[in-house]
Amino acid sequence: MKENKPRVLLVEDDSADLEIITRVMEESGFSANIDAVSSGAEALDYLKRRNRNEGPDNAYPNLIFLDLNLPGMSGFEILAKVKEEPDIKRIPVIVLSTSGEPGDIDQCYALGASSFVVKPANIQGFVDIMQQIERYWFEIVSLPAQPA
C-alpha cells in the first residue's frame, strides 16, 4: 500500500500555508507521502540525497509543489536548479503561487514548470484543484519511472 502512494515534495516555508495545503490534500482525498522542506537549499539537498540513493526510503518524489516566495533562494532559482539536474529535471514541478502575476507565470513556464496554480482563498476551490491535480498526474498521465 505504501509503495503505491505517490511521493510529493512540498517546498513551502510558511507554516500556515503548509497546514492549508496538507489539510486541503487530505480533504480532497489526495493520498500521498508528503516530504516538506522550507527552503531552496533544503529542497536541493533533499533531491541530491535521493540522487545518491542513500537510505532505504530514498525514492525520488513523483511531483514537486513549489512556492515562489521563499527565504534565501527564490522559487525561480530552485526551479532553475532542478531543471539543470539530469536525473531530477524529469520530475514535474507544480508552482503554487498567491498571485497570478503574468511575469511570474511566463518565467516559471520558461524555466520548465509543468503547471502554475494560483492558490484560491476559499477551501472548496482549493480542494477541487487538488482533486484535479491528483487525477491528472496520477490517473491520466504516465509519469517517468524511478531511475535505477
Binding site: 510558511d14 492549508i20 516566495n69 503561487s97 498567491t98 498571485s99 502575476e101 482563498a121 476559499n122 477551501i123
Partner: protein, 626 residues
C-alpha cells in the same frame, strides 16, 4: 609805201557778194549761218565765266580769258565774213584771222596741261555712284551711332571725356542726369566730379583714378555722388586713359552708371544673409549642411558647441567630426555610413536617428537627428542638411521615469503578493474554523466568521483592482487600428451566463479606432460589468453599443437601462475608490471607472457621461478614427 597803203585799200577788190553773184539765196544762206555761229560763239563766254566763278575747283581762273578770247575771236571771224560780202576788207579780215590763229594755237597748247585735271574731275555717273556709296556709308554710320546712343541711353550709361592737361571734361547728358542735372547746369570741369563725391568715398575714389593714371591698371570704381537734390547715388565708373609718346596720360574717357538699386539689393541681400546667419547661429539645434561634393558648408554655433569648438571659427576643411559620433548606446563609434548627413547625401530622408556626441574631454550629449537631401528646383541634389536636437535631459528624465516605473511595478508585485497572502489565509482559516467547529457552530459565531471572511474577501478584491489600475498599460507599441466589436466580443466570452442576467445587446455600426486593443477591451469590460451590475434586480439589462463619427474622431458609447448616475456625481465616479452606493445594495470597489478613464486617456481620448440620471447611463468616449 604805196604798196603798203594799198593793202588797206579796197579799191582794187570786189565785195565777196560778187563771188555769190549776188544771188540772194546764197547771200542769205551765208549771212544767216555766220550770224548764228557768231551769236553762238559770243554766248559761250558767258557760260564759261559762270562756270569759272561757281566751280573754282576746276582751276579755270587763269585760262578762262584765253578760252574766252579764242571763242570771241572765232565769233568775230564770222562777223567779218558777213561784212566782207559788201565791203572787201580782206586785208583786215586776214589780220583778224592771224590774231585768231595765234590765240587758237595758244589755247590748244594751254588745254593739254589742263586735260588731266579735267579728266580727274569725276563724271556725273561716277559722282552718282560715289554719292550713293557715301549715303549708304553715312546711313550705316548713323545706324551704328543711333545704336550706340540707344544702348548708351537705354543702359543708362553716362559718358565723360577728360582733357587732363586743361582739366576740362565733357559730361554726357545722361552723366548729368544721374546726378539730377540738366546740360549746362554744372561746369565742364574735373572739379565738378570731385566736388560731387561723397565725403566718405572721396579719398578712395580719387586714389583709384590716380592709380589708373599712374600704373595703367584697369579702372573700375564704385563710389557715391551727391545729387542736385541733396541725396546721393551709388555709381560705378569705368575708363581708360590715352597716353602720349612719353607715356603720360593726356586724356581719359569712360562711362558712369547708376548702381544705386543694385547696391541697395546687395545691402538688402547682405542684411538677409546676416539675419539668416544670426538665426542659424542662435538656434538651439545644431545644423550642419554640405554641398553636392559632400564638403561641409554650414556648421552653426550650436553644432560647433556640441563638438566642443564653441566660438572658434574654423576652416571648413577641418570640419571632420565623425570621430566624436557614437551610436545611441554611447559606446559604438558611428560608422561613416550611419552618419545622418552621409545618409542624406545618399538620398535618404532620416526622420529620426538617435546618436551621441562625445568629443574628447567633454561629457557625452544625446541627440535626435533629422537629415534630408537638399534638392534644387530642377530636382537635382545640391547637398544635404542635418539638424541635431539635444535630448540629453529628456532622455535622462525618461530613464528616471522608467526606473521609477520599474520600481513602482516591483512594488506593485510585492504588494500584490504580500498583501494578498495574509488575506487569503484569513479567508481560508475562517473556513477551517467553521469546519472545525462543525456542529458546535451557533448562528452568531457563524455570522461573525462570515463577516471576517467577507471583509478579507473585499480587501483582497480592492488590492487586486488597485493593482490593476496601477499596472494598466497597453502593448506599449505604436497606436494601431482596433475594432471595437472585436474588443466587446472578447469581453462577452469571459462573462459567465449568470452575470449576463439575460441581458439584451444592440450594436450600432462601430468604426475602427486608433489605439490599443488591450486598453479598449479594459474599457468595454468595466463598462459592461457596470451596466450589468448597477441595475434594479427585477429589470432585464438592455445594453446598446453606440458610435458616431465627428470628423477624424470616433465617439463610442455604452448605454444601459440601469439605475443611472446623478449628474452632480459624474466627475466624481471617475476617481479611484469612489462609490455611490452602499455595499449591501451594489457590489464594487469603485475602481472600474477609474480604469476606464485611465485607459481612454492613455489612448489620447476622453470619457464622459450623458443622460439625465434617471433613464440609465450613457458612457461615451472619443478616440481617433482608425
Amino acid at each position: 609805201m604805196d604798196g603798203l597803203f594799198q593793202i588797206f585799200s579796197t579799191e582794187n577788190f570786189m565785195p565777196h557778194g560778187h563771188c555769190y553773184l549776188w544771188f540772194p539765196h546764197i547771200l542769205w544762206l551765208h549771212i544767216v549761218s555766220d550770224t548764228l555761229i557768231a551769236a553762238a560763239y559770243f554766248a559761250i563766254p558767258l557760260a564759261l565765266f559762270r562756270l569759272a566763278r561757281q566751280r573754282p575747283d576746276f582751276g579755270l581762273n587763269r585760262s578762262i580769258y584765253l578760252f574766252v578770247s579764242f571763242i570771241v575771236l572765232c565769233g568775230l571771224t564770222h562777223v567779218m565774213e558777213i561784212y566782207t560780202i559788201w565791203e572787201p576788207v580782206y586785208f583786215q579780215q586776214g589780220l583778224l584771222k592771224v590774231l585768231t590763229a595765234f590765240v587758237s594755237v595758244a589755247t590748244a597748247v594751254a588745254v593739254w596741261p589742263l586735260l588731266p585735271k579735267l579728266l580727274a574731275t569725276p563724271s556725273t555717273a561716277q559722282l552718282e555712284t560715289a554719292n550713293a556709296e557715301l549715303a549708304s556709308a553715312y546711313a550705316a554710320l548713323k545706324t551704328s551711332e543711333d545704336r550706340l546712343e540707344l544702348a548708351v541711353n537705354a543702359g543708362g550709361v553716362g559718358l565723360w571725356d577728360w582733357d587732363i592737361e586743361t582739366g576740362e571734361v565733357w559730361y554726357s547728358d545722361l552723366w548729368l542726369d544721374h546726378l539730377g542735372y540738366k546740360p549746362g547746369e554744372v561746369e565742364n570741369h574735373y572739379a565738378t566730379w570731385e566736388a560731387h563725391l561723397l565725403a566718405e568715398d572721396k579719398a578712395r575714389a580719387i586714389a583709384e583714378i590716380n592709380a589708373h593714371l599712374e600704373t595703367g591698371a584697369a579702372y573700375s570704381s564704385q563710389f557715391r555722388m551727391r545729387t542736385k537734390s541733396g541725396g546721393y547715388v551709388w555709381v560705378e565708373a569705368f575708363g581708360v586713359a590715352n597716353l602720349d609718346a612719353n607715356g603720360r596720360a593726356y586724356r581719359m574717357a569712360g562711362t558712369l552708371i547708376d548702381i544705386t538699386e543694385k547696391k541697395q539689393r546687395e545691402l538688402e541681400d547682405e542684411k538677409n544673409r546676416l539675419f539668416l546667419q544670426s538665426v542659424l547661429e542662435n538656434v538651439q539645434d545644431g545644423i550642419v549642411a554640405c554641398n553636392e561634393k559632400g564638403e561641409l558648408t554650414l556648421f552653426n554655433f550650436a553644432a560647433r558647441q556640441f563638438h566642443g569648438i564653441g566660438l572658434r571659427d574654423i576652416h571648413p576643411t577641418e570640419w571632420s567630426f565623425a570621430k566624436d559620433l557614437f551610436e545611441s548606446d554611447g559606446e559604438t563609434a558611428l560608422s561613416i555610413h550611419r552618419v545622418p548627413l552621409h545618409r542624406a547625401m545618399r538620398g535618404e530622408i532620416v526622420e529620426s536617428q538617435e546618436m551621441v556626441i562625445a568629443p574628447d574631454n567633454l561629457a557625452a550629449r544625446r541627440f535626435v537627428v533629422k537629415a534630408k537631401p537638399l534638392i534644387n528646383t530642377k530636382g537635382l541634389q545640391i547637398g544635404a542638411v542635418a539638424a541635431m536636437h539635444e535630448i540629453t535631459v529628456e532622455r535622462e528624465r525618461e530613464e528616471a521615469l522608467k526606473r521609477s516605473n520599474v520600481e513602482l511595478e516591483q512594488f506593485a508585485r510585492v504588494t500584490s503578493h504580500d498583501l494578498q497572502e495574509p488575506l487569503r489565509k484569513l479567508i481560508t482559516f475562517s473556513e477551517f474554523l467553521k469546519e472545525d467547529l462543525g456542529d458546535d457552530l451557533n448562528e452568531r459565531v457563524r455570522s461573525d466568521i462570515d463577516a471576517i471572511s467577507a471583509s478579507a474577501e473585499r480587501m483582497k478584491q480592492l488590492v487586486s483592482d488597485l493593482l490593476e489600475l496601477s499596472r494598466l498599460k497597453g502593448n506599449e507599441g505604436p497606436p494601431e487600428s482596433v475594432s471595437p466589436r472585436a474588443c466587446i466580443d472578447d469581453v462577452m466570452e469571459r462573462l459567465s451566463e449568470e452575470s449576463l442576467k439575460g441581458a439584451q445587446f444592440s450594436y450600432e455600426d462601430l468604426p475602427d479606432i486608433r489605439g490599443d486593443r488591450t486598453l479598449l477591451t479594459q474599457v468595454y469590460q468595466n463598462l459592461i460589468v457596470n451596466a450589468l451590475k448597477f441595475i434594479p434586480a427585477n429589470r432585464r439589462p438592455e445594453i446598446a453599443f453606440t458610435a458616431r463619427m465627428e470628423g477624424r474622431v470616433v465617439v463610442l458609447g455604452v448605454k444601459d437601462n440601469g439605475i443611472g448616475i446623478d449628474p452632480a456625481q459624474r466627475d466624481y465616479v471617475f476617481q479611484p475608490l469612489s462609490r455611490l452606493h452602499g455595499r449591501d445594495d451594489y457590489e464594487g470597489t469603485g475602481i472600474g471607472l477609474a480604469i476606464c478613464k485611465k485607459a481612454v486617456e492613455r489612448m489620447g481620448g476622453r470619457i464622459w457621461i450623458d443622460g439625465d440620471g434617471n433613464e440609465g447611463t450613457h458612457f461615451q468616449f472619443e478616440l481617433k478614427a482608425g
